[in-house]
Structure formats: C-alpha cells, structure tokens
C-alpha cells in the first residue's frame, strides 16, 4: 500500500496525476494548484512558543519542536466530530504521511504536528489513543508529533499567536450536555525559521496544496 501511495504521490508531484489516489478519503481538489516555485509564500506571522507535552507527558518548547524541520501543524481536539473540522485534518495528514515517507527530499525535511486545543480532555494518554499506530516510532518514517498542553493557561498563548479562536458550546441534539469546541479548522505550514507561511482552511486543505507549498518552500526558504 505504501509503495503504491508513493508512486501515485510522485506522479502527482510531477503533475502527471490529478490527485493523490489510493484510499485517501480527502475531498477532491477542484482546482489545479499553481506550479511549484511559481508563487511566493510570504511570512504571515511568527509562530508562537509555549510549553507542550508529548505522549509521555514530557515537556518541550513548541518552538524547538518546529525548528527541526518544515512543519505542518494541525490544531484539533480528539472528540471533534465535524467532518470538515479535525477529522479532515487527520485524513489529510494520513494522506500526506506516506508521500513524505516515500520522497527522500521531503522525508528528511518535513514533520507533522498534531496539537490538541482541549487540554482538559486531551491528556497525553488520550492523545496516545487518538494517535494509535501513527505514534509508533519508525526509523524510516516522517516524524509525527502528537502534542497537548498542561492547561488552558499554557495553551492560550499558542492559540493567540496562531490566531485560532475556540469557543465552548453544547453540541446540538446530543443526549445530555456534550461539550463542543466551536472553531474554524486551521492547519499551519511553518518554516524552519519559525514563520507561518500558509494557513489552510477546510476549503483548500488538501495533500496536493500542502505538498506544492512544501516544495515551494524548499526552493525558496
């Protein structure tokens, strides 16, 4: 499966295929992205710093994590059920991962980060359950960090810096009072220097657009 995905991905990157194929369940992309290197990804804002926790509960500085490689960072909460929200981000990351793994120039330059904005529920243990097999160390794979924070207080400066607005509401129609974190899906492309270079919404978050942007960043950091 991984081999097939890689072949398709490489074809895609070469412009020979309309989209990432395989069992990827991301919605189809309805436009042809501009060619790699023909456009500029400006520095939108400096990515914020803050303390985050890995799956073992160990603290790290977010900026040190993102300084390692070009980072695709998705903000999620594990109980989100909006198909155009967090689950879409996960599906796109799932589609990206085998492509990154199979492409040497990307495998060594890119990482994925999934960061929860629900520290009250999403403990390191909860994040480990959410990550499943994705969290298993793989020497040949692309780093995929699943992170959370100790508290809302620790999370706030990160959300403020990224411009991610979160509002707690009760889920309509749900039995009892089910908490829902109303938010706009945002996935961030962060360069090695720590600048946000693209912010994807559900309307154009797609493996092809992300891969194009990563390659564009590699050409013009």
């Amino acid at each position: 499966m991984r081999r097939a995905a890689a072949v398709l991905a490489l074809a895609c990157l070469a412009g020979a295929a309309p989209a990432l194929g395989h069992e990827d369940s991301t919605p189809p992309l309805e436009f042809e992205p501009p060619a790699v290197g023909t456009y500029t990804l400006h520095r939108i804002v400096a990515a914020p710093d803050g303390e985050v926790l890995d799956l073992d509960g160990h603290p790290h500085r977010l900026r040190r994590v993102t300084a390692e490689r070009i980072t695709v960072l998705g903000l999620i909460y594990t109980t989100c059920v909006d198909p155009d929200g967090c689950p879409l981000a996960l599906r796109v990351f799932d589609a990206l991962e085998p492509v990154l793994r199979a492409t040497p120039r990307l495998r060594n330059a890119v990482q994925l980060v999934t960061l929860s904005f629900d520290p009250e529920h999403d403990t390191p243990a909860a994040m480990r359950g959410y990550a499943g097999r994705r969290a298993r160390p793989d020497p040949g794979g692309v780093p995929w960090h699943f992170l959370t924070t100790r508290s809302v207080r620790a999370l706030s400066p990160i959300l403020d810096g990224l411009g991610q607005d979160i509002r707690s509401t009760a889920r309509a129609g749900a039995p009892g009072r089910v908490r829902e974190l109303s938010h706009v899906l945002k996935v961030f492309l962060i360069d090695r220097a720590g600048f946000v270079r693209e912010i994807y919404s559900s309307a154009f978050l797609h493996p092809r657009t992300v891969l194009n942007d990563i390659d564009t960043l590699l050409l013009a950091p």
Partner: protein, 430 residues
C-alpha cells in the same frame, strides 16, 4: 445652487457621456456576502447592526464613528442607538470587513487611508477601537483602502487609488490579523487591464479571486457635480474585472465590463459556480461564469431600471440560496429585487422607493430582514432635503418590504450612514 438643480445638471452631464465613466460606491455588506473564510455566520436573529459612519463638520464631534444599533425585536432597546465609537478624525469612512475569526472589524477611510480595527468580541454591543493602521500608503503606494476581505489569518485589502497621481491605478495589500503588512499586489495594467480596483470576492473551491474597478482619489474626493462636467475625469473610471489565481495572487484573465463594475457576489448555493456584479454607469447586471469549455467569461445578463435615467446601482445583496438579488439604486432611492432563478436572465420583480438616496443594502441570513443606509461619499451625497441620512430596517415576506424602524443619523448627530455589518452576542459568549 439647489440640490435639485445640481442633480439635474449631473443627469444631463451623464447622459451626454457615452463610452466610459461612472461614479459610485457601494460595499460588500451583509450576512450572505461575507468572505467565505468568515465561518461564524449569524444564521438566526442578529442583535446588532454596526454602521460605519462618515463624520460631518459641525455634527457631534465631526469625526468618523462606528455606530451600534439594536436590531433584535425582542430587545427593550429595539431600533435604538446603543453606542457610537468616534475615531477622533474624519477620513471619509467607507467600508468594513470582519477578520476570519469575526473577533475584529476592520474599517477604513478613503481620504487619509487609515484602517481602524475594532474589537467586537469582548462586548459586541460596544466595539472598542484597538488599533489604527496607517502605513498602507508608505508600504504599498496605494491610497483609499476600500474592501476588507478575510483570508485565513490575514486581511486582503483592495485599494482604490495611488499616492503618485491619485488616479485609479492601484492594487491590493495583505496584512496579517495583527495588523502587520505582508505583501502588495498591483492591479494588472497590461493585457486589457486598466489597473483599477474596487471589490474582492473569493470562490475558495476554485481558488479564484474576482476583482472589480471603480475610480481614484481625484474623482471620489471631488464634488460629483464637478466630476461629471469634466470629460477627462469621466474617462477615469474602471471598465474591467479580473480573475486571479488566489493562491499565486496572479491575474489569470481580464474581462471587459464597461461602466464601473462594483460589488461582486458569488452564489452560495452548493454546486453553483457563478458570481454576479452590477455596473453602475451602464446600469447592467453581469454574470461571471465558466462556459462549456470551463473558460471563465463575463456576460451582460440584465438591465437595472432605465439606464437613460441613470438610476446608479450601488450595492447588491444576494440571497443565501442564490435565487434572488437586492439592488439599491442611489439616484432614484429605489430598492429592487431580481429573481435569479435563471442567473443568465435575471428578472426585476419588485421595486420600492426606500429613501431620497439609498446606498448600502444588507440582509439577514434568512432574507427576512433588510437594512438600508443612505450615504455614498461625502461629496457625492445629495444636498438639502434630499440629503437624508439614516439606517432603515425592513421586513420581507417574499412580497412586500415593510418598514420596521429607522434611526435618523442627522437627528442623532452621527453623520452619514454608510457600510453595515451584522453582530450577535451568541458569537462570542461562552
């Protein structure tokens, strides 16, 4: 000179100008016309209408101000003025736009090119001025920030003019949500482009940005009566629209759309893939849609009123299902409804005179409530008794516009009522 005489002269002058020209302004208003990246739409009852108001010398403090009006019928202060935040200067207050998280409202002036950022989340009834951005001319060379269009984490600002000759050749600026300048993009001046700008509208699924074109500082800051008598000035109006690759921010195609195409509205109906605009001078509706080969085309599809009478369509508002379009015509103070059941052939099915002069029109998400304001530009508004300044609310049952309430902006010593945006407590309350 009386207002009636001035306007008679204007009509005569305009009717003698055949090929080019137009004035007008309008705006991207209402709940069905926000940037698609503003996802927190008000789909129930709105609580507030924010009115970006031009200051008038001798009226109150004479400064531009953001006015909040209570529009919830269940409120004890329904139809009443709740708040007015003065920015302490007069700068030809014009249009506004929400940031993508709808926590802030950016509102700008066409004279000094200042952009004021209001916090509308902390207390939606009482917006607070938190920042003023004054570097657009220095950073870009552009003047007259007009349209504020949210992109993820950023604001795309369409300007109307430039600092070099204050004509209509201009461009777009991108700021991050903190108000820091990121990049500038000139409007195309080759391949049929006239370099002019006005409105912005994005179809994110197609990665397509549409822009329209108006005129520069030397025209919009000049008394309208003078402009229309100046044949050279009347040539300096936009006659194009541009389709851009949004991701690359590069022009893809330039459309000839004569007569100053202003507001652009994409149909929000799932599966629809077209936008509509109104050309002010020619009084025409234009459809922008792909042809059978997938090539984007602009096509004239309807006439608004009697073009010979220069009704001047200024603002349009599309229903959420893409089936109807409200059009305000400034000169005759008329609000018109077009059936867009077939967007290739819109039909005007309802008209009502809603004021001596009407500019902006905004509708609630369900289309049952409409709000109308009166002011175009300080030097272009009518004079004397025709210079009504108001916010008027109406209800719409599909057959008739019925008055709901009115706020007299002159009596309240506020100024000239221009652009509107809707607000709701529920958007930010925990």
């Amino acid at each position: 000179m009386t207002s009636r005489r001035i306007w008679r002269d204007i009509l005569v002058a305009l009717s003698m100008l055949v090929a080019c020209a137009v004035w007008i302004d309008a705006a991207g208003a209402d709940e069905t016309c926000n940037s698609p990246y503003v996802t927190k739409l008000i789909k129930g009852q709105e609580d507030y209408v924010y009115v970006w108001t031009l200051g008038v010398d001798g009226m109150g403090d004479g400064s531009d101000k953001l006015v909040t009006v209570d529009v919830n019928p269940k409120s004890k202060t329904y139809g009443k003025l709740l708040n007015a935040v003065s920015v302490g200067s007069r700068d030809e207050a014009h249009h506004m736009g929400f940031t993508d998280d709808r926590r802030y409202l950016w509102a700008g002036g066409l004279a000094e090119s200042k952009i004021h950022v209001f916090d509308i989340a902390t207390d939606p009834a009482k917006p607070k001025l938190v920042k003023t951005i004054g570097d657009m001319a220095d950073k870009t060379g552009y003047l007259g920030p007009h349209t504020y269009y949210a992109l993820p984490g950023r604001m795309l600002v369409q300007a109307l003019s430039n600092a070099k000759d204050k004509g209509g050749v201009t461009g777009m600026a991108v700021y991050n949500n903190k108000g820091d300048f990121i990049a500038a993009y000139p409007m195309p001046t080759e391949g049929g482009g006239d370099g002019y700008g006005y409105d912005l509208a994005v179809n994110p699924k197609k990665n397509l940005l549409l822009t329209s074109s108006f005129t520069g500082y030397t025209n919009y800051m000049r008394p309208l009566g003078d402009v229309v008598k100046d044949a050279e000035a009347m040539k300096r109006f936009g006659n194009t629209m541009v389709a851009w690759d949004l991701k690359a921010m590069k022009p893809k195609k330039i459309f000839a759309v004569p007569g100053a195409p202003l507001e652009i509205r994409w149909s929000l109906k799932t599966g629809d893939n077209w936008a509509i605009t109104a050309a002010a001078l020619t009084s025409k509706l234009w459809l922008i849609k792909p042809d059978s080969r997938g090539e984007w085309q602009a096509k004239e599809v309807a006439t608004i009123g009697d073009p010979a009478k220069i009704p001047l369509p200024v603002d349009i508002s599309i229903t959420r299902d893409g089936k109807g379009l409200w059009v305000n015509t400034f000169m005759d103070g008329t609000t018109r409804y077009f059936d867009l059941g077939n967007p290739e052939a819109p039909k005007e099915t309802y008209t009502k005179v809603t004021g001596k002069q009407v500019n902006m029109i905004s509708q609630s998400w369900d289309g049952k409530r409409l709000y109308i304001t009166s002011s175009l530009l300080a030097n272009w508004d009518k004079a004397g008794a025709d210079n009504e300044q108001f916010l008027r609310a109406f209800t719409w049952d599909g057959k008739e516009l019925k008055p709901a309430f009115e706020v007299d902006f002159t009596k309240e010593q506020l100024g000239r009522a221009h652009h509107m945006k809707l607000g709701a407590r529920a958007l930010t309350s925990p």
